[in-house]
């Protein structure tokens, strides 16, 4: 009987079974950043344990980094202390750190794929829930906590139990202007923010096969928002073409051997799944969230749901809480909601294709009066490409603040924050209460295209109406 990629990668990395029944799983690649690793390094020091395989851990700084002025010392002493601790920890343990002057710094889930460090068939972990992103390369990639970061540093292994696998098949052609972000929000809405508990999501079907790597990265990034600890796409020609020539990818004779090996990890045609969900690509509209959980979303043309449409009392209460917090009402349209801030960036949508998609539409247009618009490339490599391709100057001319790479306003651990109850059109991944730095701040998750439309019109808009004569 055939196996899924999840099963194959899991088996290839199994060290053995622990006395409590969990699997000891070898971790091929480990990423660390400044927020969740210092505690782990401290635990190692307390225990007198060294980093076992420093060549398999890679570090970057992303969460706390300012995006306007990155000269040190940072204005925020705590942020300075965190980057200094990471620098010291990496130096003392021999871990490669993509520091600010490296030209390769960026959000951890941007640089792993961009540098070719994240490869098919690997187990990849990081103390960050959006590690699911790397699954787009055909890897098992998942977020862990700081104590587990310590486990990986000390032993290059983790104690884990295998996940079930749900295949999410998206078949057919996506409508123009519908991106990976819309597909992800649609899936999360359909299956629920808790729908993926206990599962890995295998994204498959013709719409996924046609999707470029940056789109797949966006899709897998959001698997965790549907409670799936990891999401992945089977490696194919798109994957291999993406990786070829990247600094940490194999090359020469090694390349062909690697591709053959990578190909062997793809799910077998006769693999069995714990669940299969089929979605018609044509059913997916440009989608926007209206609430405080990523599953609270609607297609741009649909009215906000009535409380009577909730599937049970629990959901009804959750929707009421969300309406109260967001200051919206059932039956309203999202179109026309005035936004205060637009944020294009994050590990979800801060990639080169996101900026390439939006830039031509911004040419000759300008951000609406009263709107603050931020564009934050996710990595130094993406920022450099945007400068070279003239994308950055288009954003600047359109009235965007073109900023330096980092997590920025996705979670506001740096100075980029909402204030009061500002409404933000955001390409990030979480619309939780207070997520963007103000305890009353309101987040609308959407694609870069819809965010660009919001920036131009000053309100939530259907991108097709804002950019009518453009082939989206």
């Amino acid at each position: 009987m055939g196996k899924t990629l999840f099963q194959k990668v899991w088996e290839a990395h199994t060290v053995g079974l622990l006395p409590d029944g969990r699997t000891q799983l070898f971790i091929a690649t480990h990423f660390v950043h400044e927020v969740t690793s210092p505690q782990a390094f401290a635990m190692l020091r307390e225990s007198g344990l060294p980093v076992l395989h420093p060549e398999r851990t890679f570090a970057t700084v992303d969460h706390i980094i300012p995006t306007d002025d990155q000269r040190e010392p940072f204005a925020d002493e705590r942020a300075q202390k965190m980057i200094s601790a990471l620098r010291r920890n990496c130096r003392e343990s021999g871990i490669r750190f993509f520091d600010l002057p490296s030209g390769q710094q960026g959000i951890v889930h941007m640089i792993g794929p961009e540098l070719g460090i994240s490869q098919p068939g690997m187990t990849i972990v990081c103390g960050d829930s959006h590690t699911a992103t790397h699954g787009a390369l055909g890897a098992i990639a998942m977020g862990i906590g700081s104590t587990q970061v310590r486990d990986v540093l000390a032993t290059q292994t983790l104690a884990l139990s295998p996940l079930k696998v749900r295949q999410v098949r998206v078949e057919g052609l996506l409508r123009p202007g519908v991106s990976a972000k819309d597909v992800a929000l649609h899936i999360i809405n359909l299956l629920g923010a808790q729908g993926g508990l206990g599962y890995a999501y295998e994204f498959a079907g013709s719409a996924i096969e046609r999707m470029d790597m940056d789109g797949r990265l966006t899709l897998c990034n959001l698997a965790i928002e549907g409670a799936a600890r990891c999401g992945y796409v089977n490696p194919d020609e798109t994957t291999f073409a993406y990786l070829k020539g990247r600094p940490y990818a194999p090359q020469g004779a090694d390349w062909d051997a690697a591709v053959a090996r990578w190909r062997s990890f793809a799910s077998d045609a006769d693999a069995t799944y714990d669940d299969i969900v089929r979605i018609n690509a044509a059913d997916i509209e440009p989608t926007v969230t209206w609430g405080i959980s990523p599953d609270m979303s609607v297609g741009i043309s649909a009215p906000l749901p009535e409380l009577t449409q909730a599937k049970n009392d629990e959901q009804r209460r959750a929707w009421q809480t969300a309406y109260d917090y967001m200051k919206f009402a059932p039956g309203e349209s999202m179109q026309g909601k005035k936004v205060d801030v637009v944020f294009i960036g994050s590990c979800t949508n801060g990639r080169i294709q996101d900026f390439r998609t939006v830039a031509p539409l911004l040419r000759g247009r300008h951000v609406a009066a009263g709107v603050r618009a931020l564009a934050v490339p996710g990595s130094q490599m993406t920022a450099k490409l945007c400068e070279e391709e003239g994308i950055a100057s288009i954003f600047r001319s359109a009235g965007f603040e073109w900023r330096l790479p980092g997590c920025s306003m996705c979670l506001a651990m740096n100075p980029d924050k909402l204030t009061g109850d500002q409404l933000c059109a955001s390409t990030s991944n979480r619309n939780f209460k207070g997520r963007q730095g103000s305890p009353a701040g309101r987040t609308l998750l959407m694609s870069p295209l819809m965010a660009a439309a919001a920036a131009i019109t000053g309100c939530v808009s259907n991108p097709h109406q804002v950019f009518p004569n453009t082939q989206l």
């Binding site: 290839a12 053995g16 622990l18 029944g21 210092p38 829930s129 862990i144 906590g145 983790l158 939780f432």
Partner: protein
């Protein structure tokens, strides 16, 4: 080497409701409290923005109600601990004196983080959750006993069935919940995999790309 651990079998104490589905870790501990290199400053900060207004005045959350003071058990909803993988969330809970969380279900990463620091997360059925919350409303100072051996939560009158995967339960009962010691035993096999499984290797020739 890490200190020898004690088994975790039974937790006795008051409980406090933190209701609602999808209680995310941003709400459990807002990101601004993550700006530290240790977990030491998290004590007392759990659910901060749920409990306090921006001027520091109380919002009247059950956690701050006198009848729930010193609660050892949190009673949550569905998908408790979803969102960010920040271990700061279970650390803030544990460092605020809570010793177990009972909910309808838990997000995977939160569950794993909690297990690793000796904070059991156990599930109850939706019907039992309703009943437990009703009791907390009428008799908030009830003393509960959560027993991982019998897998029951009881107020002395009714016993509610608890659920937890067999592996972490075994780890708690045998004092093996902090895994690093266990993971250091299989050195030979780990090194064999380290040699055979490719690691990302920097290739200078390609750097010009």
């Amino acid at each position: 080497m890490p200190a020898t651990l004690q088994p975790i079998t039974r937790i006795i104490g008051k409980a406090v409701p933190v209701p609602g589905a999808n209680m995310d870790t941003d709400r459990i501990i807002p990101a601004r409290f993550l700006k530290c290199v240790t977990f030491d400053e998290l004590t007392g900060k759990m659910f901060y923005d749920e409990r306090f207004n921006s001027d520091g005045t109380s919002k009247g959350h059950p956690i701050d109600a006198p009848q729930h003071t010193g609660a050892s058990i949190i009673i949550g909803g569905e998908n408790f601990g979803c969102g960010s993988s920040r271990e700061h969330a279970p650390q803030a809970i544990k460092r605020s004196g809570v010793r177990a969380v009972v909910a309808e279900s838990f997000a995977e990463i939160f569950f794993g983080n909690s297990s690793g620091i000796g904070l059991p997360c156990v599930c109850v059925s939706p019907a039992d959750l309703t009943s437990i919350n009703a009791k907390l409303t009428t008799q908030p100072e009830t003393e509960w006993t959560l027993d991982l051996r019998t897998m029951q939560l009881t107020d002395g009158a009714i016993a509610y069935a608890l659920h937890m995967p067999a592996e972490p339960r075994e780890a708690f009962l045998t004092g093996r919940w902090d895994t690093v010691t266990e993971l250091m035993n299989a050195t030979a096999r780990v090194e064999e995999l380290a040699r055979s499984l490719p690691a990302p290797a920097y290739t200078p020739l390609n750097h010009a790309r």
